[in-house]
């Protein structure tokens, strides 16, 4: 009996391990390639992290250095190239600025609206909620074209505003927060009113602190979506490289099927994938619960 049980456990582990290898394979390819020299990439040698035999840095040669001055480790060369070829710091900073602005604006709009829908009685409240539910049906990527036309008419393409504005209202955020506020006892709100707090003060000083868990779930959802988003920036940022977000910056590398490019390209990919992956590894429970909660409307 016990033996049979372990057999099924072993089988489960075996299947899951094979799955895990397939899931991890591209992460391995990405990191391993970012460590290798061009010749190791072309010949698929060097093992996991390359032999790290010194290579001659091409950008250093271009600046007029001699072969001896320019010898460097492949891993150093790849990551240095990644940051030298494109203003990668700038792209990362853009990514952070855009992601954070989007989230803050979403909260600024969604929290009061959700509070009104959950705790305040006013004529038309049901219609207002129905409107939110209807907006939940509209996938924002699907209406990118009319939004783009609107922004173009306003002369707003190629701007931070274009990257942020369309996302300021999240029907999903309003819905999630409303569901959460319904579970907050009315007594809490009434007590705040007795203390003489106005409704605005209640939103920010009573409801906001109470809603931290739901906000965290929404934050994870929003940040993951917008840090990784490629479609919308691709549509509205047409030329100005100063506004590139990390995925757009990575896209720039594409096109050259040459071992000299794969190293820095994979280094760039590693750099833009790392922040979220590390955050996830540090706070997995939060992430998984957050996504499950945000997903399970």
């Amino acid at each position: 009996m016990i033996r049979q049980f372990s057999a099924s456990q072993t089988l489960a582990h075996l299947v899951l391990l094979i799955g895990a290898v397939v899931v991890l394979l591209p992460f391995y390819v990405m990191v391993a390639t970012s460590f290798k020299s061009p010749s190791e990439i072309m010949t698929a040698t060097g093992g996991a992290f390359g032999a790290q035999a010194p290579v001659v840095s091409r950008s250093c040669l271009a600046r007029g250095g001699t072969d001896a001055d320019c010898a460097t480790l492949p891993v150093v060369e790849n990551y240095r190239e990644a940051f030298a070829k494109a203003p990668l710091w700038r792209y990362m900073l853009n990514g952070v600025a855009v992601t954070v602005s989007i989230f803050l604006l979403q909260v600024l709009v969604a929290l009061p609206a959700a509070y009104a829908l959950a705790k305040l009685r006013f004529w038309g409240r049901n219609a207002a909620f129905a409107l939110v539910m209807f907006c939940l049906l509209i996938p924002v990527h699907a209406i990118a074209l009319p939004l783009y036309v609107l922004l173009a008419r306003l002369g707003l393409t190629d701007s931070y505003a274009a990257l942020v504005l369309p996302w300021t209202v999240s029907a999903f955020g309003i819905f999630l927060m409303r569901q959460f506020f319904l579970t907050v006892p009315d007594d809490l709100v009434d007590a705040a009113r007795m203390d003489g707090m106005g409704e605005f003060a209640i939103v920010w000083r009573v409801m906001l602190p109470a809603a931290i868990p739901a906000l965290l779930a929404f934050a994870i959802f929003s940040v993951v979506a917008h840090w990784n988003d490629y479609f919308w920036p691709r549509v509205v940022i047409t030329g100005n490289r100063d506004l590139f977000t990390p995925p757009l910056g990575l896209r720039e590398f594409k096109g050259d099927l040459d071992g000299n490019f794969y190293g820095p390209m994979m280094a760039t990919a590693t750099v833009i994938v790392t922040p979220l992956v590390v955050a996830f590894l540090l706070a997995q429970r939060r992430f998984v619960d957050g996504i499950a909660m945000a997903g399970m409307k």
């Binding site: 582990h13 299947v15 899951l16 799955g19 895990a20 899931v23 394979l25 992460f27 390819v29 990405m30 709009v109 009061p112 609206a113 509070y115 009104a116 305040l120 009685r121 006013f122 409240r125 207002a128 907006c135 939940l136 049906l137 509209i138 996938p139 699907a142 209406i143 990118a144 074209l145 009319p146 939004l147 783009y148 036309v149 609107l150 173009a152 504005l165 369309p166 209202v169 029907a171 409704e199 605005f200 939103v203 990784n228 490629y230 479609f231 691709r234 990390p246 995925p247 990575l250 594409k254 099927l257 990919a269 994938v273 996830f280 997995q284 992430f287 996504i291 499950a292 997903g295 399970m296």
Partner: protein, 323 residues
Amino acid sequence: MSEPRPEIRQARAGYLLFLPALVLMIVLLILPVAIAAVLSASDYALGNPGFDWVGTDNYSQLLSRSAYRKMMVATLAYVLIVTPASVGLGLGAALLIRSLRVGQALYKTVYFLPVMASLLAMAIVWEFALHPTLGIVNRGLEALCGVDGLRAALSGSWAGLAPGATWFGRGCVQGFPLWLGDPDYAIWSISFIGIWQGFGFSMVLYLAGLSGIPPELYHAAEMDGVRSGWERFRLLTWPMLAPTTVFVVTVTTIRSFQVFDTVEALTDGGPVRSTYTILFAIYEKAIRQNLVGVGAALTVVFLAVVMAVSLIQRRLVERKVHA
């Protein structure tokens, strides 16, 4: 001094607090849908001084031109491959992980990693992995060809088949596919990346659904003589997961309809439009070629399909709740 009554004060606050959201929803969501509907009846192009009404011309193009037929084929193929596979693998992984005594957290972490990672970045890595000569996939397959026993087993030559009779045997003889460059394989390769990226999301939702099933139900079923794991799954787990399944299927379907990153970065809709999916078609027509009218017609079709999927889901969930 006429302090308004509390009800009125509350109502006034309600309007004020909801107002910003209302304005933004109208401007950013409702209005664009209306704009798309209007533009879809025009030959509007950005930068042109005016435009003409073309009635349903844009829509009849969608029905008559082979490019759009290919678009529908590619989009449906992607959705029909990715949705069942992601849902099935998500459910399978969740069930297997739940059955483990050790290591649950590890597999959960690993399978969820691709959901967190930028799809564009990972697409580029997959492109490299699938590269016909440099890539780890074809190099790995070729290495398997070099192992005599494996080659015999996988190519069927141990059973007397010709060396090129099976897919693997043919690959060993003639070389393995170009994956992203071959019209027969490109949509499968793109779909594979989509499944790889998305099934961890289904897994998490299924794990949440599984943890919501009360263990007493399993004890009760055991009392009633439900012994085998399969019976337990068929009679108990699967029906209890029905609401989760409806939700996971809808979300995955809608996400699949919106595939863009992999197509734009890896195949550009090709080869011969075998991966010409709808969101990419909208992008190509309207943004690259400035055929806004056509793109708007595509947008309207797209919205109609996705909203229909969501509404069907709501119906199904409501019926489940009332039944």
